[in-house]
Amino acid sequence: MADALAGSGDAFAELAARHKSRVFGIASRFAHNAAELEDICQDVFIQAFVKLRQYRHDSPFEHWLVRITTHKCYDYLRKRRHRADHISVEAMLESGHEPHAAPAPVADPDLERLHAALAQLSPKERLVITLLELEDRSVQEVAGLTGWSAANVKVRAFRARAVLRKILEKSP
């Protein structure tokens, strides 16, 4: 950590190797495809490297990293709203993205329905539902990660569930 703080890229790469699974695990709940997953994770660690001096040692490094990951995922959800949903492989190659191996397809049709429904939620609704229900975080934890109040998290979660139920009822 001290070497990474001194600006050593190699030391930071070691730190990344130790914590990447956690970051990939969370980001994979939000990423649209493998290229986006890679981008989110790289952005998380780049931001962590740049802001490493702001890390206070009063909580584990991983907590701090998870907070950055949450914010990055939310940023990506917001950005995706403004983009076309499907990007062709050619467009991805032109933009410099490598079409890495896609995440393993979800074999369960019910889960596919759920993921399709989650994709229709607003970024805030999706964030709160994913953290609470899929990542199994408590309301307090979600509040700490997002910077929202606990009451706000509860209200958003309640509304998100209602929207999700409606979407699932409509879908075949």
């Binding site: 699974s21 890679e38 995440p103």
Partner: protein
Amino acid sequence: MNDSSNDSSSQLDALFARARAHRPDTSRAEYGFETRLLARLRESRASVTASLWSIMAWRLAPFFAVAVLTLAVWQEKSSSDAADAAAVVGLDNPVAGEIWGN
């Protein structure tokens, strides 16, 4: 109405539980991640250094412009002073006039 709402809510909870249990396998995406990250870190450092140089150059541009102008004015002034001195010395001092070729 209330029953159906409870029913759909419990169905949703069951779906969430299944989704929680099914964590996407990211091992392939994680492979070689540190190498790619280091490459991007180096790239971003290089671009940051380049942009810092360009920012500094632009910030220092007015200073250099003033310095060049001052030098030009000083040189112009000193050369005209020397010409004046030579002219004065050549007119009033016959010895100096000989030296200057007057």
